[in-house]
Symmetry: C2
Subunit: 283 residues, 2 copies
């Protein structure tokens, strides 16, 4: 496993890798969710590159960039075991040198859900992912369904800008009690950790209602809200039942695929989760 | 020479081309300026791709998109003689399918000169060039100094987004009387064509003053303005003596390289031209 920060060196190494090359972009502090992406890439690609970069431009001024958890030595140890070929760990100075002034923006589908709650977030995401794609030139790139809107935004960008990259969306990996794996779970104290299962319970209950025939979007949102509101440590930012293509709320009956999603504060920790009804996003 | 409109077919052909691959992006209606880029690419690259696409998103609502001159059969005849390998002629529907919503924007250096006069113009340029780069994956791309700000904006974008493409800027090709070659010169009637030499005369005279030791930016702008204002058919939009890096006006003395540039209406036809003082932009 080769580790480098330098882009020039990365390009030299990239030129020697047998295709297809898979890229797993991460912000580090790796958990089983990330590792599932790495394993999927290893299965499908002859070479695997993992990038680790906590991207400052996708954090808002009052968000957790500074305290976002980091542990590069442990990350490298985990990746070593997964037969990763290259780990790229650029610095903010390498990615955003003095004079940097170019941005990639996806418009319509970034206006709702996470994009509405976190202005500028997706501009940061699509800009850094464009840079990662251009620097590593992968044939395939792997993203988790946990960040469903992010995956859809990146897929839209990839199609619109004709990046020669296949976007692979992989299933959310959960703890035994249903909590979606996230680097931010480390922020939770024991009581909050217990309360955090409420996101999955809300999604799971709404899915059961859907499977029993419920198609009214308002009813599905209410089912989720009722469960979330019963948890004293939870403060709901949004619950959504949206068209998987436009990410606009279904008003009455769901027609086709729906993304059920939510952002919830558990104490001071902001968690998101989602499931898809009527089809699958992940392959 | 292979001609195609289709991106999938283009990618297949691209995969067979020996590297390095040179791209010459054009809007067609080719003249000696374009052909000089093609010849330069042929000298430096084992394969040459020329794209022809009049890009709607870089034209403002009151600009000349609809009447921009087009002559694909003649363009293909000219390119055939230059040993071009591939000509890509996509349609607007291929480049901007229904649901398209992703834009690439360069910020600071698009705020002045052409960017100030033509809001949204450079966003259209950088978006389409990103798409051309991703679809053709060139090792080098060739642009004319005639559109100096465009070339600098594309170079900035290429660096900022880490496109693995070398941007080559080639000298402006001029008619014997100094008029810079442009597809838009076809709009000029005989009297306007004669008057249009005033741009070059203004630039040339300012350069002579510079060579005789004049370093004051205001004086250089006045020298150009005086000449332009004597031409009854000319209406000046701007004259500029700007820092080649920031594209901001030099206030007093030029320190380093300067871009002398102008946009002038000759009758109803908008022409631009420029020269660089204290160094060169083109290689």
């Amino acid at each position: 496993m080769i580790t480098t920060t330098n882009i020039t060196e990365l390009r030299k190494i990239r030129a020697t890798l047998p295709a297809p090359v898979g890229l797993v972009p991460t912000m580090g502090y790796l958990h089983e969710g990330h590792l599932s992406l790495v394993r999927r890439a290893s299965q499908e690609c002859r070479s695997v590159i993992v990038s680790i970069f906590v991207n400052p431009t996708q954090f808002g001024p009052n968000e957790d960039f500074a305290r976002y958890p980091r542990d590069i030595p442990q990350d490298l140890q985990l990746l070593e075991k997964e037969n990763v070929d290259v780990v790229w760990t650029p610095t903010p100075e390498i990615m955003y040198p003095s004079g940097f002034q170019t941005w990639v923006s996806v418009e319509e589908i970034t206006k709702t859900l996470e994009g509405k709650m976190r202005p500028g977030h997706f501009r940061g995401v699509t800009t850094i992912v464009s840079k990662l794609f251009n620097a590593t030139q992968p044939n395939r790139a792997y993203f988790g369904q946990k960040d469903a809107q992010q995956a859809l935004v990146i897929r839209q960008m990839t199609e619109d800008l004709n990046f020669p990259v296949e976007i692979v969306i992989c299933p959310t990996i959960r703890e035994p009690d249903g909590l979606a794996m996230s680097s931010r779970n480390v922020y939770l104290n024991p009581a909050e950790r217990k309360a955090a299962t409420v996101l999955w319970r809300a999604l799971y209950t709404a899915r059961q209602a859907y499977e029993n025939g419920e198609r009214n979007a308002k009813t599905l949102r209410e089912i989720m809200l009722d469960i979330l509101n019963k948890e004293p440590l939870a403060q709901v930012q949004y619950v959504s039942c949206a068209d998987i293509h436009t990410l606009l709320e279904w008003e009455d009956q769901i027609q086709g695929m729906a993304l059920l999603s939510m952002a919830v504060l558990i104490g001071k920790t902001r968690l998101i989760d989602n499931i898809v009804l009527g089809g699958t996003l992940s392959q």
